[in-house]
């Protein structure tokens, strides 16, 4: 039990924080209901994929600044391909866009491994390149999306045998998020590749000596991040119905949620669940502040303060528990 708490204490704490915030929301706005929760999840969706992308790279000991730009690029690519096309055509577009993200991520990784230029520089460069490329694909928000894709994130999941009042709390968007993240993360975590990603982030030398193919693992970590970014791009197109070439505020939000989610920025430590809960916490805080009709500028200050406070509190608890 104590080991469970030591290993997963951060996730447990974050979940508790989310519950507290949720209760607070109900107090601030007694009418906050299932529908509002659904729109919260839909708003979280692109953030969550950006965070997933960043998490994989950070655990491998790197950082990816091109996440938001890659989402924009994949989003406009999907939107422009689907504009005016048939519903069936989208069945080809989706895997194509996902593959595109995977390849672009791999390119990031290859550049870092081969040129030995620091990851922060390489991904900053690809950020600019992808930004420009997105504008070449669509110079203004536009394009279209297949209806069935849109439908994937609208409404709730009907669970047989449960009353509507309960199923109303299971938006389709949440199901999609959980299914996609699990589909990638669980096999990864159980594979030797997953272990290797943790290993190179924890200690590159020890990993090399343990026979881990360091370069290949790093490239694959960035490629998986690219895959998640492409999912994020698709989710943007799905929720807005169009593609927007200017990247959204997902880069800094992804780093923030990774830190808040208990992933060590040095690499090697943390999981995916923490950052995902963290992104829900951050969005819910924003909702609360909006409901309280607080100046949006102050909102940003409060968000920043919460991050610092939570991370400091976590470090304090860790040090205390280690001392005893």
């Amino acid at each position: 039990m104590s080991r469970f708490l030591r290993r997963h204490g951060w996730v447990v704490g974050l979940s508790a924080l989310f519950v507290v915030l949720f209760v607070a929301t109900r107090i601030i706005q007694p009418g906050y209901g299932a529908g509002d929760f659904g729109s919260l999840v839909r708003a979280v969706l692109p953030y969550a994929f950006a965070v997933a992308a960043q998490t994989v790279v950070v655990i491998a000991g790197g950082i990816d600044l091109s996440v938001a730009a890659m989402m924009a690029f994949t989003s406009v690519t999907a939107a422009s391909m689907m504009a005016g096309a048939s519903e069936e055509y989208a069945i080809f577009v989706v895997p194509l866009v996902l593959a595109l993200g995977f390849v672009l991520g791999a390119v990031n990784g290859i550049l870092i491994v081969v040129t030995r230029v620091p990851d922060i520089v390489v991904t900053l460069a690809t950020l600019f390149i992808l930004q420009g490329a997105a504008l070449l694909v669509l110079d203004a928000p536009g394009g279209g999306v297949a209806e069935w894709l849109k439908g994937l994130i609208i409404g709730t999941v009907p669970i047989p045998g449960l009353p509507d009042a309960v199923t109303a709390w299971f938006p389709k968007a949440l199901l999609l998020l959980v299914v996609l993240l699990c589909a990638v993360w669980i096999p990864l975590k159980r594979s030797r590749l997953g272990l290797s990603i943790y290993a190179i982030g924890s200690s590159e030398l020890a990993a090399f000596r343990s026979g881990v193919p360091v370069a290949r693992t790093k490239i694959l970590a960035y490629a998986i991040a690219g895959l998640f970014a492409a999912m994020g791009g698709l989710s943007l197109t799905m929720s807005t119905g169009i593609g927007a070439p200017i990247p959204g505020p997902y880069l800094l939000a992804s780093v923030a949620a990774v830190v808040l989610g208990g992933v060590a920025l040095g690499g090697g430590r943390g999981g995916l669940l923490g950052p995902i809960i963290a992104v829900f916490v951050l969005r819910l805080v924003r909702t609360d502040l909006t409901l309280l009709a607080i100046d949006p500028n102050v909102t940003a200050i409060v968000e920043g303060s919460i991050m610092v406070a939570v991370v400091m509190f976590g470090a304090y608890v860790t040090i205390r528990s280690r001392a005893s």
């Binding site: 943790y198 020890a206 343990s210």
Partner: protein, 512 residues
Amino acid sequence: MTTAPLLEATGVAKNYGAVAALKNASLTLLPGEVHALMGANGAGKSTLVKILTGAIRNDGGRITVRGRPYVARTPADARRSGLVSVYQEPSLIPDLDVISNLRLTQTPVEPFREWVRELGVPDLDLRDLARDVPLAIQRVLDLARALAIAPDVMLLDEMTAALPANLAERVIDVVKRQSQTGRSVIFISHRFVEIAALCDRATVLRDGETVGVVDIAPGVEERIVELMLGAKIEKARRTRRDAGETAARAQGDTRIAVRNLRVGTKLQDVSFDLRNGEVAGVVALEGQGQDELFAALAGSTRPAAGTIEVDGRAARFAHPVDAVREGIAYVPGDRSEALAMKQSVRENIALPFSAAFASWGPINRRREGAKVQAAIERLQIDTRAQREVQRLSGGNQQKVTIARWIAADARTILCFDPTRGIDVRTKREIYKLLRELADQGKSILFYTSELEEIQLVCDRAIVIFGGKVVDILPVEIADEPALTRAAYGLPRETGAEPGIPTGGAQQGEAAP
């Protein structure tokens, strides 16, 4: 012997730029033998091991395993060919639990568990994170992991160095039994006791070349020391006379008294005095605790036990600035550790004492300028390229690190291998400077990996082995053979020259 060698390396060479780390190393490993690989610091042992295990590639030479050419590009390659290494530092991934570490290296769990028990660790929890396992146990786990794979050849690099005595015994025992099952072991250790107990033969390296292969038999230590030193023994005997002249130096008051100091896991129990007006040499093989000793004296690491007295008062250093306040300056071997490489010579020299002038206001340029100028002239630093320290030669950079402390008027200078990798002329200037400083009444603690420097610079040599002071030699008898012997924990040569007191160890404690 008629058996075909399991592993044979001939003429192995490795260059790093213009520096030859290995020139002509050879090694023949028979099936079922424990083979010691020996050599002084920098002789090329670890380079050879790295080549054999695929961590680096050799530039020349031929390696065969069971008669077939052997090329390992990575440690994983080496493992497939049946070579597994246990490195000096643990190679478990700190953030993964033990069982994940096993999965990562595809190590079978049950044999691993058995070996861990066999090696004397009964209560290991495989779900513990590697970082939570004590360092000594991590080394045992590394060994168990290697054993569990059942390789043909195991390379053990300083396996027992970080182990407590009871674990070290179990390890020796287990390794010995391994060889009886036909596996071969390459064993690197500085401890002759272990080598005598365990090994069948030893290959001795000197300056990147194999200079001899000897069978381990009683009394072979002397032969191995001779091989490690080579022609240096003769040379040293000749210079011994000149050194005698320096014997009659006046002894000053005790400046720093170190008593029963224990730091980290490596420095066990060290006591000595450093007096005003002397240069005390520190001699140790790599990793005997000298780094920890200097770190503790410089205030960057807190000792676990023991006391440091400065001028008769107990001192506790919580931060390097505390040591600097007591007038103790640390000159690290790695110059990039001490210098702001992109700043000018002047700024670098002024850095420590500008901080000391700190009365929050602007820096007093004139006062600073005069002190810096004096230090530059004193050390004859080549100031043509002074805008950025990184453009100076290594020797001049090292001078800057010393000059700053002269400008700051430090009374004690801790020099950690200050002449590593710099040219002969600058080396001589640094020797002369250190002597001059001592003659002015300053005290200097001087660690060097080049043993001939002891007689050129020092008044005494404090020899550390296994984290303890094993001998304090007066400079007259501190030639290379004597120092090497002492550094390996061997007793002084029995036929010491007449007329020289053998009670050097007491000399350190003689001051009231």
